[in-house]
Amino acid sequence: MKENQVDIQTAAAQTATKQKNPLVQLIDRLYELFDNKKIRFIVLAAAVAVLLYLPMRTSMYFMEVMTNVWFYVVMCLGLNIIVGFAGLLSLGYAAFFAVGAYTTGILILHYGVNFWLTLPVSVLMAVIAGLAIGTPTLKLRSDYLAIVTLGFGEMTRLAARNLEITGRATGLVGISRPSIFGMTLYKINHFYYAFLLLAILAIFVSYRLQDSRIGRAWKCIREDEDAAEAMGINVVAIRLFAFVIGSVFGALAGSFMAVKMTAISPDSFLFTQSVMILLAVVLGGMGKIPGVILGAFAMVIFPEIFRGIGQYRMLIFGLLLLVLMIYRPQGLWPERSGGYSAKGKI
């Protein structure tokens, strides 16, 4: 009896120490600090200043990697709207990226359109593609969407491979560089700023969407579809909207990528590309914007650091997905305590 009590006491003491784990305390403290608007502003301003200053100091290689990071941040935030906010699994995200890249590429190369004018067309094409895939599938079970998007991703790649206008297997080569205010963008630094700007825009739009009426509707549908419908949310329309917005993010990133690379080929839009983006979103934490940004960073930087792993890369990513889903489904940067969901605190 007495031993039991001691056991309970030690157990209680252990949980107490667990709660007062210094690291957790520190993180909680940081969160509190970050809640303060002034401090948040200072931290963010400092971060942006460092990011703007970076190109003046670092090497070309580093800039290339960082540009890639911003590119992935945009793509991941786009997919995050579909997977994280609305809870729909899309496995063909690279297709939207392809839609944007090819639209811009074809318009510039074959019709000589100004780059900036191709952007609205690219957005329009992404909306059409999103609607074409979403409309038949979003009424159905969510698994259907997963496989249809997988099929769609593959279809887009095959179409790009076989069509005359997309340059078949060689793709489009020699897309001219864009210019702004009479200055042609050609250096890596220019594209660094372009993608940084795009990423900041994507982050801003993501936050605005998250806190909007639509954003709350997405979360509501994700947690409980029936309850959402009972509350008067048009489930299909709201989901379709998530799908379309997500595809627009991808297409814009694709358009910019087309002019950065000046060449695109069907092999840039493989299934593994879609999976990488998905993994970044899952890794960082679905539905959490800072988490997704962190995920995008990790996804780009990790292979750069571990160059040797080469062919084992995707194998490791697969294992990571499995382990994450079983042991830490909320991702690396979980929603802070105080966030609410249908199942209580996460």
């Binding site: 969510s142 698994d143 249809v148 593959e154 095959l158 062919q311 995707m314 889903m325």
Partner: protein, 305 residues
């Protein structure tokens, strides 16, 4: 060739293609029916089956069995058991801990398993094509200008025989009955004293074994294997399962054969060359989803997930 002969030739091709699709689709459909999981890893199991039987066949080729039909049959049976057990392990390790988790987590896990499988094989094979050498000749039966090799004929018969065995297993045995019951209501079955975990494991075993047999047959038929060969057939098998009505066993077989036929005739249509073959099947999937999402044999579903 006359039109009639082209038609017959395409029927043979279509049936063969369709029986591969059907065998893989069965596994998708069975697993979906029971645990409501779209098992992405299933297509990769098909590929693993192909490689496993190739390894065994190379081994048996040096023994008295040889690499003719005797060797192929023995290695296919062993492959079915080995890969079937792999399916059970996958279920135990990856899917069982998540049985009550959100569907999204389960789908992502399945994707992870799929990546692990095909990347492991890629690392082992170095990402190259492997020739599937058999001792089978190219003799066959010719009727007019139509030519059907013995291999083709035997493979079609074997695939259809496997489907029939499965059908009997599902409809006539206690295990089959338990599977059908679980697909209707898992919790209720548990209350009735059905050992659900065992039956779910058995379902994975049977489904995976069938995919492995299809992988072996595809190896024998096409004569080469590649680590990514499961990807496209996975989508097509899923299309087959949807055409027939997912979760319905005869539907998967019917859907597979139908898709095989559609595909082999579709490529004969002018403007749809063989390079558009895959696009053609995906379009069929989307068309089916728009007009008849429950599939040909499916009943109207009121449940929404």
């Amino acid at each position: 060739m006359s039109l009639q002969e082209i038609v017959v030739q395409q029927i043979v091709n279509g049936l063969l293609l369709g029986s591969f699709y059907g065998l893989v689709a069965l596994g998708y459909s069975m697993v979906y029916g029971i645990v409501k999981l779209l098992n992405f890893a299933h297509a990769d199991v098909y590929m693993v089956g192909g490689f496993c039987s190739l390894t065994l066949l190379t081994f048996f080729g040096k023994t008295f069995l040889g690499n003719g039909w005797a060797g192929i049959v023995v290695s296919m049976l062993i492959t079915m058991i080995v890969v079937g057990l792999l399916g059970v392990i996958i279920e135990r390790v990856a899917y069982k801990p998540l049985r009550n988790a959100p569907r999204l987590s389960l789908l992502i896990t399945a994707l992870g398993v799929s990546m692990i499988l095909y990347n492991s094989v890629m690392v082992i094979t170095g990402g190259e094509y492997r020739a599937y050498k058999t001792g089978l000749g190219f003799q066959g039966i010719s009727i007019g200008s139509i030519f059907i090799t013995h291999t083709q004929a035997i493979l079609i018969v074997a695939a259809i025989a496997l489907m029939l065995v499965l059908h009997l297993f599902i409809t006539r045995t206690m295990y089959g009955k338990a599977m059908r019951a679980i697909s209707m209501d898992l919790d209720c079955c548990r209350l009735m004293g059905v050992n659900c975990n065992k039956i779910i494991a058995l379902t994975f075993f049977v489904g995976t074994a069938l995919a492995a047999s299809a992988g072996t047959m595809a190896g024998v038929y096409y004569g080469s294997l590649h680590f990514f060969m499961g990807f496209v057939i996975g989508i097509k098998a899923f299309t087959s399962a949807v055409i027939g009505g997912i979760g319905i066993i005869p539907g998967a077989m019917l859907g597979g054969l139908l898709l095989g036929l559609l595909e082999s005739f579709g490529t004969q249509i002018p403007f749809i060359g063989s390079e558009w073959k895959d696009v053609f099947s995906f379009s069929i999937l989307i068309i089916i989803l728009i007009f008849k999402p429950t599939g040909l044999l499916g009943k109207k579903e009121s449940e929404r997930m």
